[in-house]
Symmetry: C2
Subunit: 307 residues, 2 copies
């Protein structure tokens, strides 16, 4: 019913970071690609298999360093249903290795439709009175533009399963301000969204004081994060934008509370694609990813101490 | 590069409506469910097959009455990858019957991620220099909370393929006002979104005067639609909320321009589930859906004349 499960994992590992699993086929080392294309042909199936091998290797290399992974649905939908089948396998494998899985899906729709999404991603579909799980993530990201009735069905499913969600508040991309930074009375639109989100989930706080509805707050806008940390005392933060998008450890430090709790920082390309910077041919992708994840952890540890 | 393809189909059929394909397993008549469960077992595969048979039957019954169908991704993701495989088949079958397919996905993400989505849903993934299409819809719905860089990659893909998109502006659900109706200077948030969207796509107008970036404007807020029609002269409207959600033909009339162009009205449950109101056992689901689609068309025709 809250972020306790994730925060416990973060504390155990002394590492408040999450590794994105957002592979495009060109991020996969050539020897893996070639083997998959030979076995399954050059196409959606071959690409999905290559990315699965890459993901599984990353999971093996990272599972005792990071507490969580975040597959971004777009990179799986990119390959059609064969990508989605591979996403199910990736989530299952990551969970089997003890990783907390945040499915980055940014869904949001009317209540009945949101309920269908929540079943698919969190609680399972009901068929002839039985529950059947498929994507079965521990947590999903949501877009709250449509209001609280687009979020509530996810909270209901998350409660049943002791899972949680993150709602977009202030995103990391260059155009985020076009809508989110607009002045609305005495607040900005993203503050309205953050306030609404904290209110929707009020009463679901766990032992660390955070509700089950976290917020996405981009590392690329550090002063906004600092203000949001004060404003949204009970909201756990997912902080994208570290690394490839330009955010630094110094930028993300203000996402954390005084105990070093209440936030997790994501890096995707910086970890996945670390092998492209070692000068090797990709056979060292696991070691490179692991080293990059350790470097990121230690970078953030300079500024954040988790008690 | 615009809504010409869809508007041409609407004119040819004199019918500005789209049928939602949003089946939950309980909407499928018992004889179809039973046959699918016997062949594939009670589970995700059996449910997906039952819904496919239902969808294909609906498509056969509706393809000479309505110009377009709108599958809602949630009802396919609900069944995991097997639902997504069935969605691909549904889209392919609908297109083979001449229907325009709007994939209701409401995606929105940072630029690189939006590009991955756009490939999956519109233009195809690039693998070893070749394009591989999967979901391959004619049009998708998007959520613009993250700003123009979350929409532009879809416009790029749509341009390449002569496809188009709809961006959420004012949605049909009860909670839509919580964010969308907030006062932001001299505008409301949804007006800001609508203005931004029309500006992003400026210059892509087709022969009917509409750009390739339409807007979702819910039938449940008719006075808002009326004002938006005046405000966004070059924006094609997708109008959900007719029927089950409470919108009437009188409510949706103002979405259209003086030629009866510029909008399409959706009904999902009212058509899909029409068989549940005939007193039969579901063997008449095609006839019931067809009659409901014709009744909807004629209902709207009372107020809207398409020239």
């Amino acid at each position: 019913m809250s972020f306790d499960v994730l925060q416990d994992k973060i504390r155990a590992m002394k590492n408040p970071t999450v590794a994105g699993l957002d592979a495009r086929i060109e991020y996969v080392p050539e020897h893996i690609r070639r083997a998959a294309f030979e076995e399954h042909g050059v196409g959606l199936k071959g690409a999905a298999e290559a990315i699965y091998q890459f993901n599984a290797g990353l999971i093996d290399a990272l599972c005792d360093v990071v507490p969580a992974v975040k597959p971004q649905s777009a990179y799986y939908e990119n390959l059609g249903w064969q990508g989605m089948e591979m996403l199910e396998r990736t989530i299952r494998y990551a969970k089997s290795k003890g990783l907390f899985v945040i499915a980055d899906i940014k869904r949001g729709d009317i209540g009945s439709t949101a309920a269908a999404y929540a079943e698919g991603w969190l609680s399972g579909a009901s068929i002839e009175g039985q529950q059947f799980k498929s994507f079965d993530a521990d947590c999903v990201t949501l877009n709250g533009y449509m209001g609280s009735d687009s979020i509530n069905p996810f909270l209901k499913a998350a409660k049943e399963e002791d899972k949680c969600v993150f709602v977009l508040v202030k995103t990391s991309n260059p155009g985020s301000g076009e809508l989110q930074d607009i002045v609305a009375g005495d607040r900005l639109v993203y503050q309205v969204m953050g306030d609404l989100n904290e209110r929707i989930a009020a009463g679901t706080e766990g032992k660390y004081g955070y509700t089950m509805a976290g917020a996405v707050t981009g590392a690329t806008y550090p002063s906004d994060i600092r203000a949001l940390r004060k404003r949204l005392e009970h909201t756990f933060f997912l902080v994208p934008g570290y690394g490839a998008q330009g955010g630094t450890a110094d930028d993300v430090r203000y996402a954390f509370d005084k105990y070093g709790h209440g936030a997790i920082v994501n890096s995707s390309r910086g970890i996945m694609c670390a092998w492209q910077k070692t000068g090797g041919d990709g056979h060292d992708f696991q070691e490179a990813a692991r080293n990059a994840a350790i470097a990121m952890r230690d970078d953030i540890k300079q500024f954040v101490t988790i008690v």
